[in-house]
Amino acid sequence: MKELKLSVNNLKISFRTDDGTVQAVRGINFDLYKGETLALVGESGSGKSVTNRAIMGILAANAIKESGEIIYDGQDLMKLEEEDFHKLRGDKIAMIFQDPMSSLNPIMRVGKQMTEATLIKGKVSQKQSKEIFNKTLALLNKRMDEARGNEQENKAYCKMFDDFEYKHLELEYSYNKAREALENAIGDIKDVLFRIEKRAFDNVRRDLAEILKETAHTIERYVVYARADELKGLLAELKTLSRITLVEKAGGAARFLLNKKQKKDNAQVAEWDQITKKLEQVLDILNEADGYVKPNFFAMGYYAKFAKEPLPQMEIEELNKFLRNYLDEKFMLYFISIAKEGVLYSNKLSIEAKKQAIQLIDEKLPFFDGDSPPKTSTTELCKELISAVEKCIDKLDVIKDNVLYTFSSSLKTSVNRYFEAIIHNVQEEKRFERQTAKYNSLVKRGKTPDYTVAEKDLVDLKVAKQDIVNCILRVKQKMQKDIENNDSIDFDAKVVSLIDFFKEKASAVVFKVTKAIAKNRALKLLEEVGIPEPRKRFRQYPFEFSGGMRQRIVIAIALSANPDILICDEPTTALDVTIQSQILELINKVKRERNLTVIFITHDLGVVANMADRVAVMYAGKIVEIGTAEDVFYNPKHPYTWALLSSMPDLDTKEKLEAIPGTPPNMIYPPKGDAFAERNKYALKIDFEEEPPMFKVSDTHYAATWLLHPSAPKVDPPKQVLDRITKMKKMQEEMLNG
C-alpha cells in the first residue's frame, strides 16, 4: 500500500486587506502519497501558492487560518507553533521558489548558503535523536519486562545493543571520513582534468601540487588495498612531472615576457597530455577503490566490542558474511526474538486499549444526542476520550498513525468551536433583537430609516455538533480497522524496522555535522544537480551564475537537508525551454533517486504533463478537477480544464486561439455558485446559484462541475480539446508501435 505522507483537509485561508477579506483558499482537500508528484495548476491568484505556503508555515502576517488541517507525520501543521515549525521547515519539507534571483542572498557566497541549513539542522537533530533513541529503547525494555519477565537478561541485552550500536557508528564514522577523503580526491582530480581539458591553466600547477600532497596523505591514512603501491608510484611520477612543469614555468615566465605568443607552445601541451594520462590512471584506481563493497559495520561493531579478538584477515565480502553470522549467532537472533515479544506485547496492549476505547466511545456517544450538552461535562468527557485514545497509540510502532496522533487536537478544536458558536449565536440573536427594536421604533415614529437590519449570522449548531461526533467516529473506525487487520501484521518485519529506526536515530547522534562534512555534502549536491567545477563554483556569489545555474543552486539548497516533501513553486517559469527541460529532468531524477514526494506548482500544462503523477486544477481557491495526469489530459471533465487546454497553442494549432474571456473573480466578493460560471460558456443555470460538489468520474478522477450531474445536458468538450486528445492517442499508438 502507498504510504500517506500528507493530507490536507478542508483548508480555508483568507487575507485581511484594506478593501476587505480576500478568500484565497476556500476549502480544499487532497492526499499526498510517498514518492508521487502532485501538480497544482491554475492561474495566478487561484490559491496554489497560498496552499503551499500554509504547508510550509510561511503565510503572510495578514493571513487568517479559518479552518482545516494539514496532517504530516502525526502533527497538524495548521496548529503548529513557530518553534516547532523550525524543525520541519527545510528539514522535512523544503521549497524551491519561483525566482532564483530573489531567493538567494546576493551578498553571501553560494557555498555558505548551501551549508548553512545543514550545519544548523545537524545540531538540532543530534539532540532530538538522542532523546528519541533513549526513550524508545527504555520503552522497549519495559515492554519486554512486562511480556516475559527475566528482567536482568532484558536489561543486559538492551545495554549490549545500546553499546555496540554506538561502537559500530564510531567505526562507520571513521570509515565515512576515509570515504569522504577518497571522494574528495576523486573530485579534485576531476576538477583539474576539466581545467586542463578546457585549457584553463590558471593556478592549475599550484592546485595540482596541493592535490597530490593531499591524495597521498589520504591514501596513507585511510585506504588500504591491493593497488596501493601502484598508486603511490603513479603519484610519485606525477609529482616529478608537475615539478618539471613548475621549473619550466619559471623559465617560461621569462620567455613569456620576451614573446607573448610562446605562452602555450606545443611542448607544454604535450606535457599536459602526459599529466592528464597519469591523472586518469590515478582516477581509475581511486574509482576502483570507491567501488569496493562497504564493510558491515553493524556486525563489525559487535565484534569489536565483545569478541575481544582482532578481526580475521579476509576479503571484505567474506568478512561481511563472517561478521554477520557471528552477530546473528551470538546476539541478534535472540535479541530479535525477545524484542519481538516486547513488540507483540505492546501491540497487544494497544489493541486492548483500542477495544476499551471503542467500548467507551460507544457508551459515551449517545451523550451528544441530547440537545445541548453542558460545557463542563463535555470537556470532561473529551478528556476521558483523549486519554483513552492516547493509550491506544503503540509507541513502538515506527510508522506514526495520523488519525490517532491528531485526535486530541482535532477533538479539542471542534469542541471549542461548538461552544464558541453557542455564545456567538446568543450574541447574534441579541444584536438582531436590539437592532430590530430600534428599527421598528424609528418606523413607528414615522421615519423611514435608510438602512436595513443585517440578517442573523448564525452558526448551525447541529453541524458543529456533528463535527465533534464525526471526529470521534473517525477515530473509532480507524481503531476498528486496526483491530481487524491486526492478524495480518508481519511482526518480524516490524521488529527489523524498529531496529532500523534505532540505527537511524543513533547515526544522527554520532555523525556530528562539521563544516568540512557540510562542505563535502554541498559539493556532492552541486555535482548531483549538474554544476561543473563545483569546487570553484562553491566560492562564487549568486550573481556570477546564469539563471539556470542559479535555479540549480536553489534546488541544491532545498535538497541539502534531505527533505521528505519538496514543494516546487513555479521553478521554471522564469527560464527558457532548454534550461527548463534540464531543470525538470533534474527534479525528476532527484525525485526518483531519493523517493521524494513532490508538490509542483505551475501554470504551464506542458510542464505538468512532464512532471505529474496526479494533477489538481485549481480555480478561485478551490480544486475543480483532480485526477491522475492521464485522467486530466485525456479525459478532462471540467470546463475550466477545457479552457486551459484550448487556450495554449501547440505545434499544429492553426485556428484562432480560444482565450478564456474576462479575468478571474475578485475573491473579496466570491461569486455565488460556481466561481467559473461567469467565464464559462457551458455554464448551466444552476451554476450561478449553487456550488457544484465533487462528482466522481472514476476512482482516481473527480471534478466539481454540474455538467457531471446525471440530469445535466450532455456537453462535449470543445473541438480543439477533442482534436488534441485524438491526436495524442494517435501519437501514443505510433510511439508504441515504434
Binding site: S546, T578, G606, E630, F633, Y634, S647, M648, T653, I660
Partner: protein, 413 residues
Amino acid sequence: MDKFENAETLVKVENLCQFFKMGTAELKAVNNVSFDIKRGEVFGLVGESGCGKTTTGRTIIKLYDATSGNVYFKGQRIVAGVRSYKENIKAKQAWLKAELNKLNKDDPDYESKRGQLTAEAKEYIDEQKRQIKLAKHDHKCCDKDYVNNLIAQINEKYQPLIDSADEQNKQEVIKKRDLEIKNAKKQRLITQIQMIFQDPIASLDPRMTVRDIIAEGLVIHGEKNKKVIDEKVYKMLDLVGLLPEHANRYPHEFSGGQRQRIGIARALILNPDFIIADEPISALDVSIQAQVINLLNELRETLGLTILFIAHDLSVVKYFSDRIGVMYFGNMVELASSEELFKHPLHPYTKSLLSAIPLPDPYYEKHRQRIVYNALSEHDYSVDKPSMREIAPGHFIYCNDQEEEKYKKELQE
C-alpha cells in the same frame, strides 16, 4: 515559398554585429546575423536566453549602436556599424607591409612595384574610409535623409504639374505641394519602428496615467492639440480592447494582460509599419497569453503590421510566425518558414530546441527524449569555416561544405 515571396522587403538586416566590452574581452552578443523581413510578415526569433535575440531587436531599433553591419528599413539605411571597414583597412595595411617585405630591394623594378602596391592599397583604404564616413552619416542622419528623399519625391511629382499648369492653377498647385512638403518634414523614419517590451510592469511608468503613457510619443513628435491627442488615445484603447475610462487610471490598477495591452497601444499610436515584440507574453498568465496573442493577430490583420516576434516559447512562435530564425550564441544557425523548420529541422541545435518543447500530453512527455546539443563536439570548424547557406528554397543553415552535403542528404530522405 509562401505568400510573402513577392512582397516588398521592409527590413533588411545585413551582417549585423553587436559586441559589448567586458573589461579587455569582448562579448559577441550578435555576430554576423543577416535576414530579411517582408512587408506584412511575422518573423520569429527564437533561442535560449542570452543568445542575442533581444539584442538583435534592440540594435535594429537603435537602442544600441551597432558594431558593424547594416540594417535597411524601407530601403533606407538606418543602422550602420563601422567595425568591418576598419578591420578591412587594418588587413590591407598588414597585407601591404607583407608584400613590401617580400620585394627584393635589388630588383631594378623595385621602385615601380612598390609604388604600384602602395597606390593599390591607398585606393582601397580611401574607399573604406569613404564607406566609414557614409555609414556614420547614415547612422546619424537617417531621418533627415528620409525627409529629404520624401521632399525630392514630392518635388518630382509636382514639377510636371507646375510646368503644365496655367497661371491660375499654378498657385494652387504650389500651395498643395508646399503643404505636402510641410507634412513630409514632420515625418520620421525611426518612429515607424516601435517596440513592445517583455515586462508589462517594468516598462510602464507607475507615475503616469495611461493617457500620458500612450500619448507620450505623440507629444514628443510635436502634437499639441489636446483634442487630437485624446481622440487618438481613445482610438488606441478601443483597438486593444480597453475602455476610454481606463485612460485616467494608473498602471498598477490593471492586471498583467491589460498592462500588456497598454504597452501595445503605446507602440501603435505613432502608426508604425514595423513592430518589434520582445517576449510580449512570457510574463503573462496562460489564459491571458491567449488573449494577447489573439489581439496581436487581429491587429496584424487590420493594420497590416510587420512584426519581429522574439520569444522562447516555441509553440507560440510556431503558431504566430510565418518564418523563424533560430539563434545560438550570437549566430543565426537556421532560418526557414515555420512549417519547414518544424517539419525538417536540420541544425542539431534546432533539433535540441524542438525536443525540449513541453506538450500537454503525459504519455508523450514521459517518453520524450531530449536531444542534448554540444557545439564543440557537434561541429569541426577548425579548417572549413561555416557560413549561412541555402539548403532548400527559403531554408538557410549555418554550416560548412561538409555539413551542407550531409544536411542536403538528410533533407532528401
